[in-house]
């Protein structure tokens, strides 16, 4: 830690008797990390506040300088610490105590964006969304078409490069070899899961991970074991410009930063030109996971900043083609290294097996109940199949999430209760795959779905929307339009074919397995990251 604790009350850092739970305690440490790095040698007193459920932490923004807070904030701790970051300032100027009030926010709350819509328009959209989710989705998909078409016509402007090869030295740097990571937030997600893996790899290679996250969140994953021993800094905005540079200066002077690895971090990527102007020799990798739906998102931010990024790491051929083919990046600066085996561990990979067809044909959905995954579309497909399948059919919906109440409502409304089983995430996905004859992915936006790997390993053909890089894993005939009605029509037709023709099902499964096998031969991300980190060692 870049600070030493001088005193504390109820935080639980010295003795484990605080009022805070582990997540909250780590948020306090995160805030202390930021202020200790931004204020070398200074002594701070943090007054720790807790907000009502659903409010976001305020740990590093300008609000923390105010010693007045909202009526609904309770004080749950106090911490005095001194920054152990080396400073060249005279001791006198470091003597004063800096008072800060950090707000940990409330308990994490799961809420759909639609539940947060305000005003009459919000009410109308919520109602339409609830009563006609599929029809509403038709409009959404047309909007996506239009936005994408308009967006893709424009070339992404590029940030000018940093021409200097050596920054004028201001401070010596520390001895501890470190890697600076930039993450979106510490919540459930594919990019975050891989980011945590790389943090673990950095630790194993002998680096101290410094993990900066920049989006408002309650950061439920801050307690993950991969972050033990890392310097985690959850930023909250706005941060005053002098604090931003002070913080980054603190990081660069306290540690021997040997590399920067970005995982969808817009704050850190936008500060790269400055970092490169101060320390041009620090290599920068940007890992990209998904060609963002509707707009280019992180990928286009990455293209914009390409002159200050050394290697663009992509996990799918689609992203590679986009960067090289569409955006004209030099092939040698784009590294394709995939996460092919990310979650297939523990599932029997002995190859495709024929399912026993004594019972009803079982169609499964596995995924979070979010707008992106469109569980309502799966339910509509289930209703279509229930009325048109050539034999008995059963459905399993495995997941939970912000659209949970909608899912429950639709199951009743569509008359699926007798043929549909709901499973919570507490149950292993492998159980559902073992029970299923086909898996359906109805998302309107994906990178490369991890469940497709799992299904292939379990010998289940996958019917999927043709979005993101799904074409890399799914049999060609089983790729469907993301538009709701064409999706339902094609997916239902393919599933009916599987029911009457086990041979055709096997053909598709074999094509899927062959694709997975070819995909698995592409370079592996973990191996490449491990080798890259090794190369960054002093």
């Amino acid at each position: 830690m870049p600070f030493e604790v001088l005193d504390e009350s109820c935080v639980g850092l010295v003795e484990n008797d605080g009022l805070l739970d582990d997540r909250e305690r780590r948020l306090v440490v995160g805030a202390a990390n930021f202020h200790a790095l931004a204020g070398p040698g200074q002594t701070f007193r943090l007054t720790v506040l807790r907000g009502p459920r659903g409010t976001m932490p305020s740990l590093t923004d300008d609000q923390t300088r105010r010693i007045e807070w909202e009526d609904d904030r309770e004080v749950v701790g106090s911490l005095v610490f001194r920054s152990s970051v080396h400073t060249t300032a005279d001791a006198g100027s470091q003597d004063k105590l800096v008072d800060l009030a950090v707000d940990l926010g409330g308990e994490p709350e799961v809420a759909s964006a639609y539940h947060q819509l305000n005003g009459v328009l919000g009410k109308v959209r919520r109602s339409v969304r609830f009563f006609a989710p599929v029809q509403f989705d038709v409009l959404r998909q047309y909007r996506t078409d239009m936005t994408e078409r308009r967006y893709r016509r424009h070339d992404v402007p590029r940030k000018a490069p940093v021409r200097i090869s050596r920054g004028a030295s201001a401070n010596p740097h520390g001895d501890t070899p470190a890697i600076l990571f930039g993450l979106h937030w510490l919540e459930l997600g594919g990019a975050e899961r891989f980011a945590l893996e790389t943090i673990q790899l950095a630790k194993e290679a002998g680096f101290l991970p410094i993990v900066v996250v920049d989006r408002p969140s309650t950061h439920p994953w801050i307690t993950r074991p991969e972050l033990d021993g890392a310097v985690v800094v959850p930023l909250s905005h706005p941060i005053s410009p002098d604090q931003e540079s002070a913080f980054l200066n603190g990081v660069l002077s306290a540690y021997d930063v040997r590399g920067i690895h970005l995982h969808h971090s817009s704050w850190l990527v936008q500060r790269l030109p400055w970092i490169k102007s101060v320390r041009p020799e620090i290599p920068v990798i940007d890992s990209l996971h998904i060609l963002e739906w509707r707009t280019g998102g992180f990928v286009d931010i990455s293209v914009r900043m390409t002159n200050v990024i050394d290697v663009h790491h992509v996990i799918s051929p689609m992203l590679r083609d986009y960067l090289i083919g569409r955006q004209g990046l030099a092939p040698e600066r784009v590294k394709l290294a995939t996460l092919a085996n990310l979650t297939t561990g523990g599932i029997d990979q002995s190859g495709p097996v024929s399912k026993d067809h004594d019972g009803p044909f079982t169609v499964a959905f596995v995924g979070r109940f979010t707008q992106q995954k469109r569980p309502y579309l799966f339910l509509q497909l289930a209703a279509e199949l229930k009325s048109s399948a050539p034999g008995p059919v059963k459905f399993i919906v495995h997941g939970d999430g912000e659209l949970s109440s909608e899912v429950h409502g639709l199951i009743a409304r569509l008359g699926l209760s007798d043929v549909l089983e709901l499973r919570t995430p507490a149950r292993p996905v492998a159980d559902t795959l073992a029970d299923a004859d086909a898996l359906v992915i109805s998302s309107d936006n994906e990178g490369l779905t991890l469940t497709s790997f799992e299904a292939t390993a379990a010998g289940i053909p996958v019917v999927s929307t043709d979005v993101g890089s799904q074409a890399s894993l799914i049999a060609e005939d089983l790729l469907c339009s993301r538009h709701p009605y064409p999706f339902i029509k094609t997916a239902a037709q393919r599933i009916r074919t599987m029911m009457i023709s086990p041979a055709q099902r096997k053909t598709w499964l074999d094509e899927q397995a062959a694709k997975a096998e070819a995909f698995a031969k592409l370079p592996d991300a973990r191996t490449w990251i491990r080798d890259t980190y090794q190369g960054w060692l002093p």
Binding site: S316, P317, M318, R320, D321, Y322, I324, G325, R326, G328, D466, S469, A471, S472, K515, A518, F519, L522
Partner: protein, 299 residues
């Protein structure tokens, strides 16, 4: 090292096809894949292809219906792209490539790109007829500064468009511009596509890369040659070019095409009934404006 997928589109030409495939497989720079698109042939092509299927580098794509040269090339190029090839090298089923044709194409494109200091969207071969002369149907159109690379000692010519008889496209051209318009079915699909990708820069004809086009008669496309038996091809040609000139160029280019068509038909004394049919196709071209499919990234 870069990878190449050769793409051969075939329809009912099994005798010539064997020679075409053997020439591809005997290249000094052998392509990593040979994708053969069978446009639903009915002459026993399938049996001929079965012999090649044991070769791991050969991929047979059997289409359920005849999609024309345009549909065949679009499907074959898409498959080459899906296989992960860095280049696709496309040709007809009556094109015999000299043994170093691909090697020279790859080298010629590389040299031209180096000299021009830019990426170029395609390289095409010098297409000869069976008598060793130039094949009239396959002459590319040149840029105004076509001799730029010759002046620098290269045997490469800058071009604006070419026919689909031994053309090498880099993967990025497919990513950026998509596939040929399958809806064209036949004729003008090659010109439309090469003109489309030329937006990124000129193509290059590599004179050291030579192929032989085994056509029955060595004659270019001329509307004066229209007769009842070849009419069907000219109908596609008239519709496709009218559509291209109007929707991808401008109304003046469209009118110039109509005038050229009329002059050609008059010069060839083509019967009025056939002329009327062709002008109906030109009118069809006003509405006909297909959009290209984009290839899928699989590997």
């Amino acid at each position: 090292m870069s990878t190449v997928a050769a793409v051969v589109v075939t329809y009912n030409r099994k005798d010539k096809l064997v020679k075409v495939l053997d020439h591809v497989l005997a290249q000094t720079r052998r392509p990593e894949w040979l994708v053969v698109v069978d446009n639903a042939s009915t002459d026993g092509t399938d049996e001929v292809l079965a012999k090649y299927e044991t070769n791991d580098s050969v991929v047979i794509l059997r289409l359920s219906e005849n999609t024309g040269g345009a549909g065949g090339f679009a499907a074959g190029m898409a498959r080459g792209y899906e296989l992960g090839a860095d280049f696709v090298w496309i040709m007809d089923d009556d094109c015999y490539a000299n043994e170093d044709a691909l090697e020279e194409l790859v080298n010629g494109l590389h040299q031209a790109e180096k000299a021009m200091d830019m990426e170029l969207p395609y390289a095409c071969s010098l297409v000869k007829w069976t008598d060793g002369g130039i094949c009239e149907m396959n002459n590319p159109g040149t840029t105004w500064d076509w001799g730029k690379l010759i002046a620098r000692g290269q045997e490469n010519v800058l071009v604006t468009h070419c026919s689909f008889v031994s053309v090498l496209f880099p993967r990025w051209a497919l990513t950026r511009f998509g596939l040929p318009l399958k809806e064209y079915f036949i004729w003008f699909d090659d010109q439309e596509y090469t003109l489309r990708v030329t937006k990124a820069g000129p193509g290059v004809q590599v004179l050291r890369s030579v192929v032989v086009h085994d056509l029955g008669v060595n004659r270019g496309v001329n509307f004066g040659d229209v007769n009842a038996s070849n009419m069907w091809k000219f109908e596609y040609g008239a519709r496709n070019e009218a559509s291209f000139r109007l929707h991808h160029e401008n109304p003046v280019a469209f009118l110039k095409f109509v005038v050229r068509l009329e002059q050609g038909l008059r010069g060839g004394k083509v019967p009025w009934s056939l002329r009327a049919k062709l002008f109906r196709k030109v009118i069809e071209g006003v509405k006909f404006n297909p959009k290209p499919d984009m290839p899928r990234s699989v590997l």
